[in-house]
Symmetry: C3
Subunit: 162 residues, 3 copies
């Protein structure tokens, strides 16, 4: 198989892995979730240590907190993959994560997953995940890492277009 094709296949496998995380989380299929990570993985949703975990079992255990929502929907997009070595890659992907509480109020996040991935004997796995948040609606109150954008230059004045 040519280098170009095997690279495309790797990218597709990594994208499938990132998608499966979203789908498995919406099914609350935590057994599957645990299999998407390496045994020594590090996952960090925010500065609060209760939002961080190490190792695939603890990651899955930690995500039991998602049961405090009655329904969720995680929509992945904007997947960018960069290979460091043949079996080692970084990726950034975007997610729209919708959550509903038992009282029917909702919370939506517009987030980013910044991942480090490693090929193991049975396929690509997430070895490090840090989540950032571009933003969220007022219903969401968990302290996810804010994604920082560049600031306006000093003296910038907003144009009147709306």
């Amino acid at each position: 198989m040519s280098d170009a094709i095997s690279r495309i296949c790797d990218e597709r496998e990594i994208e499938a892995l990132l998608i499966e995380y979203c789908c498995a989380l919406d099914r609350m299929d935590l057994d599957t979730i645990s299999k998407l990570f390496t045994d020594d993985c590090v996952v960090e949703f925010g500065p609060d240590k209760r939002l961080n975990s190490r190792g695939r079992s603890q990651v899955a255990k930690s995500l039991e907190r998602m049961w405090r929502w009655v329904r969720t929907s995680h929509h992945l997009s904007n997947v960018k993959i960069r290979f460091i070595e043949e079996d080692h890659a970084n990726s950034i992907s975007y997610v729209i994560a919708w959550h509903e509480r038992a009282n029917e109020t909702t919370a939506t996040i517009y987030g980013q997953y910044h991942d480090e991935l490693r090929r193991e004997s049975n396929g690509w796995r997430i070895m490090k995940r840090v989540m950032y948040m571009n933003g969220c609606d007022t219903g969401f109150t968990v302290n996810i890492h804010p994604f920082e954008r560049q600031s306006a230059p000093e003296g910038w004045v907003a144009p009147s277009i709306d």
Copy 2:
């Protein structure tokens, strides 16, 4: 063409088919919609029989109901494809479907399409589609099949993280 490449091409054609459904629906181009399905297709949006149809013409006819919205926007993501045979596949994909009424109220669904696909002489077609809903906002009242997730184990207590 190698097996790996032809498999990638098939996946891309199937993804393009699923995307075209979304785009054609937002254009209300029902002629195009009818061409995306097999002649013997079965489409089921919910338990109400008025939401179900058989055959490409009836599917397109049935979707005339979308004119009760003045604007819609269907955003596909999370496409997973599994081949059963060379010319036969299953797929699951996610959609954010936004709808606006003439009175400017809106309704948004966070849904899943569970599809069965068949390669015909002029390309891949949808032969069975069942729609499920992870959730929706309060503006949406049509009875789409609910997507069921696994329940919390007995005795599970919500952590205090927000």
Copy 3:
């Protein structure tokens, strides 16, 4: 490299270009934005001439207006690419663009980018972009080109399904 593979690689590069626009905009990395367009590009967000620009520097300059939001999130999907010649293509893609003001009010667009792309010596670039809007929430007031869908046939009566 076979024609099929080089076509797939081209499509992946174009999709990466469209994704990078979204990500760079959310970072307000306008240097990167300017590099995604051709030197003679034409970009048109709406009928108001203040929403239009020519040339990569002016496009980046014009997007300084995005600093009137404190946070944004652009989620790309539904990418369709059609090649006109080997080095020239059209694409349509969808975007959910979420914006937040300093006062915490938000504005969300459900839009489409209609692009013309050209391969230059260092890769694919956007040579023409016209943005259309399927819809938006009430928080968004900029006059983006409306995307027009086909109208209901005369005498069409809405079914009672919700």
